[in-house]
Symmetry: C2
């Protein structure tokens, strides 16, 4: 029997075996897709970049690969670098070898696609017939194949000439070079044409990412990766929306409710699209994070964002298909298909705050609120404005991202505060910037982000804090050119380790990469001072520790806070050194109040003098009441 | 210039480019590894299975691939089926072609390995030289290569002859067939030799899995996948251990503490290896799950398993390197490097129970307990025995797994209970078995698993319940041949949606695949009946819902419970139908107690008569007190 016949026989046997093993492969494939939380039945695919040498194929491929891998989507690039030096090193550049080169790449790409990977091939692949073979190989295996023509004009490619190949080709050293001595056959029906001239690589790759999204190969981008979805009605629809809102039954909301609507509508809690329905509420309480059918990637969400209504209101609204939320009689938003569920206040408060003590200011508000919760996606008529002279500081997550881009920030670090800034804070922020610069960032930008929603009565009011912060900025203690001072519109809950996650997550949505966290963040004294030996509601270290272990904050790095205090020896704020603790003075809010009352100034170097003036005035005015 | 020269020039240019792009690849690789939570620097590798036709290479490869993919580790099989029909379809079976076949596979495997995948190649690859080429390709790319010799004797392979190839080779139809007409060169130094004769495919694959674990390629198997790690001291070390334990300072523990030590030491809470240290405690409270450096896969853990000690004890032990836990003066366990941390009881109770009410029986116990917690890995001297005549029912997770294997169970469904069984329960379990059979399971086994640790005073005691359960089994209402009656040694916490996760997770560790959950699992009335309109501590639907959304229970399917009640029309227990609700009678514990007191029997078909006798006797004895 000839070798030829043996080949045929063995191949037939293989074919039979293939059908059996194909079934087994199918099961494994399904598990693979499920593991990745990707679209059902995801099997991988091949993206085939064709174009002249120097067109930008490999750069785009790298950008795409890095992007996908960063998102946890398996991807792998095949190009001359890893193919010509390995699998195809026994091929040259003759016509037949070029054909075989592309055929083999097509076959290998198919294997990668079948293994659940997005194979990204970057090859000049100048001939339509060869590209057609690669496409056919995929079609026969029922795998998607995207031919992407990187359409950079020859002149541009030649002017780039990164590898010096065009020069050699023009000199006649390289023969048969595509575009010079050999035809490049432009694709007739590619799935995508990318023009790289005048675009950055990122922009070019974006077109490809969009294609994969549209095709359902990869899920649409989530939160921080993309624009944050806002919940506002299209301006052109506003009149019709208001008209509808007035015909619906309505729920009167409080100022704090309105603050939460601002938070939701601007996208701080993205991907949350409205007040929580019960499934997300339960996940929030039990897991401090959630997934949904739509968002299979786990999202951090530690605090319930809910709307409480009275039993009466609930009884009147039961079974309704849409309801208007109205503030002081004016429609603000509509919830469609609202879900009403019982507000088990004691349980909610226990799980959220770790106490049920009604002396806690936010808990008190919860207990005084309604016995039912109403959940559902929000449509909000327009931006919430407070007309208090501070609206210019109220930037949305998208506006902040835009701002950071304008400033050419290559990283953003956020600092949340609800108290006046002293020079210890400034020191900390300068130090953080220094650390980031050391790590190679060229332009770290500080998001100085005081909380601007509801706070307890004895906290310094927002207007005073903003004036104080602005005075610090104006003094130059923080550099204006790499600082953004803006208001975080959320109410304050005083929920310690639970709330600090919310503070971090909202800043991640606003484009922050780093989050500074101190001791006892979002903490307060326990309303019952005897409950714990330290008198605090939360252990001072728990906030940082829980935040570091929290889920859904993978794109945010937590920077622990170093405590600063007044160094009496060096007459300035400095990082506290336990070894010479007697040299340090911690100047508390109470102490500042006392100083203001007696008209004394704090020690030199504690706070920018103009900023102290603003604060002293406020403290005196309070004492005068 | 010749084609040859052009080739060389172009190749040199490629080489230069490779160095630049290699750096970019490196970054992507690191992200890939991080995404997978795999060993740092994980880059994929190649497992090369060589051996005769019919040796079992592909079967083992499939088993390994399925196992890895199931665990979320990227893996892909290359074999004749997907190579000979595609990439290498232009190769025959001549010597040169066989060589080129193996070379190309080696190159493709290298690409997969480089992409972060475990490439599993199954090829006869009879020649040492060819296998050496494949190995060299990987070595040059700094990628691991494991040659695995599937050493099945020719006679065995020939007797299997799945593809009928040996027959054809013997008949001379197939020429040059390896093992018959052509030499198979046995590997001289393979990384592993697998003997398949007399072993199942799973067993053979296990050897390979072990190799990958030992090599640090994949993390060691977790919980349910492997044997559950127990915390007992080696029997040979027992004397020395006891000697040491007696020299250490000791903490006296309570009976409930001892029950938790039993739970931990037998592996019910695996991978927890002792009383919680604070980092895991915090994750438990906030996320109901945890990860550690060692266990990067998220583990469900909803309830704190902690050891409380008094402030006095803590003060005496501070700074100690090891401590003995003693029950009634007898050493039970040692904790090394114990971690002491403050027991913020109110916070712990709030987050765990959703209330702080001291009328709750377990909460009361917590408040009465110590103000400090001590965490650390446990070494336990031996199995905890209670000598109450019920120890034979106390099977460990490993013993249960062994038992299920003996029974040839192909799936296990668990039913947790802390009350007597009536025929409604039996109906439910029969119905579940029917459903599982419908889904294709041949031998579903029921784990009837009453809770055997501490319960509140008015629950029916364990001994009575066990006698009652045994009577139900003996009556045949549940089939003994596919039921395992065993005790779950955990104390009961009455913590509703939080605790139900614990009940499910522990059964997952014991090898269950399905978990039956009813309304208001682990629930109790609120100690303050006025707190909620329904009078219960937890919403009746929350347990099921939270359990379905819980993390770290991916290998357990939750089966919601259908409520059964006494059907007065048909005189039997039946699934409740709301449409004819007046036909149904819910027979509560209180009602059973009343019946027992008056000497009345419950309606026919409510409970197995012998089982009712046991229960009635108990109720009468309690009333007599």
């Amino acid at each position: 029997m000839s070798d030829e016949t043996t080949n045929k026989k063995q191949k037939t046997c293989l074919q039979v075996a293939t059908n059996v093993t194909e079934q087994k492969h199918q099961v494994t494939r399904e598990v693979r897709g499920r593991n990745l939380g990707l679209c059902r039945g995801f099997r991988g695919c091949t993206v085939w970049l064709t174009g002249l040498s120097g067109a930008g194929k490999t750069s785009i491929a790298f950008e795409l690969e890095a992007y996908l891998v960063q998102r946890g989507i398996p991807a792998y690039g095949l190009d001359g670098d890893n193919i010509r030096t390995g699998l195809n090193k026994n091929l040259g550049f003759t016509q037949a070898d070029r054909e075989e080169n592309i055929r083999r790449v097509g076959e290998v790409a198919k294997l990668f696609a079948d293994s659940g990977v997005i194979a990204i091939c970057s090859f000049i692949s100048p001939f339509s017939a060869d590209r057609e073979i690669a496409r056919r190989i995929h079609k026969d295996a029922d795998l998607k194949f995207y031919e992407v023509f990187v359409d950079t004009p020859l002149a541009v490619c030649e002017s780039r000439d990164v590898k010096g190949l065009y020069k050699k080709a023009r000199q006649g050293v390289l023969k048969g070079f595509t575009g010079i001595a050999q035809e490049y056959q432009r694709p007739e029906n590619p799935e995508l044409i990318i023009n790289t001239d005048g675009y950055t690589i990122k922009e070019s790759a974006k077109a490809l990412i969009k294609l994969l999204e549209t095709e359902g190969i990869i899920p649409k981008m989530k939160s921080h990766e993309n624009e944050i979805a806002e919940l506002f009605v299209e301006p052109s629809m506003k009149a019709a929306f208001l008209h509808e809102a007035k015909t619906l039954k309505s729920i009167p909301i409080t100022e704090v409710d309105l603050q939460w609507i601002q938070v939701l509508s601007e996208g701080w809690a993205y991907p949350l699209r409205g007040f929580m329905r019960e499934d997300i509420y339960l996940q929030t309480l039990h897991f401090n994070s959630f997934i949904t059918d739509e968002h299979t990637q786990r999202q951090n969400q530690s605090i319930p964002i809910v709307l409480a209504i009275s039993t009466d209101a609930k009884t009147k609204l039961d079974g309704i298909s849409a309801v208007t939320l109205a503030f002081k009689g004016q429609p603000v938003a509509i919830i469609r298909k609202p879900e009403f569920y019982y507000h088990r206040k004691e349980e909610r408060v226990s799980r959220q705050f770790g106490t049920t003590h009604e002396g806690h200011p936010y808990i008190k508000m919860i207990f005084e609120g309604g016995d039912y919760l109403v959940g559902g996606e929000l449509e909000v008529v327009e931006r919430i404005r407070w007309n208090d002279g501070l609206d210019q500081y109220r930037l949305t997550p998208n506006e902040l991202r835009e701002k950071f881009k304008e400033m050419q920030a290559d990283t953003v670090f956020a600092f949340q505060l609800r108290n006046p800034i002293h020079n210890g804070h400034a020191l900390l922020m300068q130090d953080t910037k220094r650390q980031l610069t050391k790590r190679g960032f060229k332009k770290p930008v500080l998001l100085l982000h005081p909380l601007g929603g509801w706070t307890k009565d004895d906290d310094v009011p927002l207007a005073v804090r903003m004036a104080q912060h602005q005075a610090v900025l104006d003094s130059g203690a923080l550099k204006a050119e790499d600082t953004v001072l803006a208001i975080f519109p959320s109410p304050m809950m005083y929920a310690g380790p639970t709330e600090v996650q919310w503070h971090a997550k909202a800043r991640m949505n606003a484009g922050s990469n780093f989050y500074i966290v101190g001791r006892d963040p979002a903490g307060v004294p326990h309303p019952n001072k005897l409950c714990y030996p330290d008198g605090n509601l939360y252990d001072a270290t728990h906030g940082q520790r829980v935040l570091k272990m929290a889920q859904g904050l993978d794109n945010l790095e937590i920077l622990p806070f170093r405590v600063a205090a007044y160094d009496k020896k060096n007459l300035c704020m400095a990082f506290f050194e336990p070894s010479r603790k007697n040299d340090f003075d911690f100047i508390s809010g109470t102490k500042m109040r006392t100083l203001a009352r007696t008209g004394e100034a704090p020690p030199d170097g504690f706070m920018v003098p103009q900023a102290w003036q603003i604060l002293a005035q406020y403290y005196q005015s309070v004492l005068g009441q």
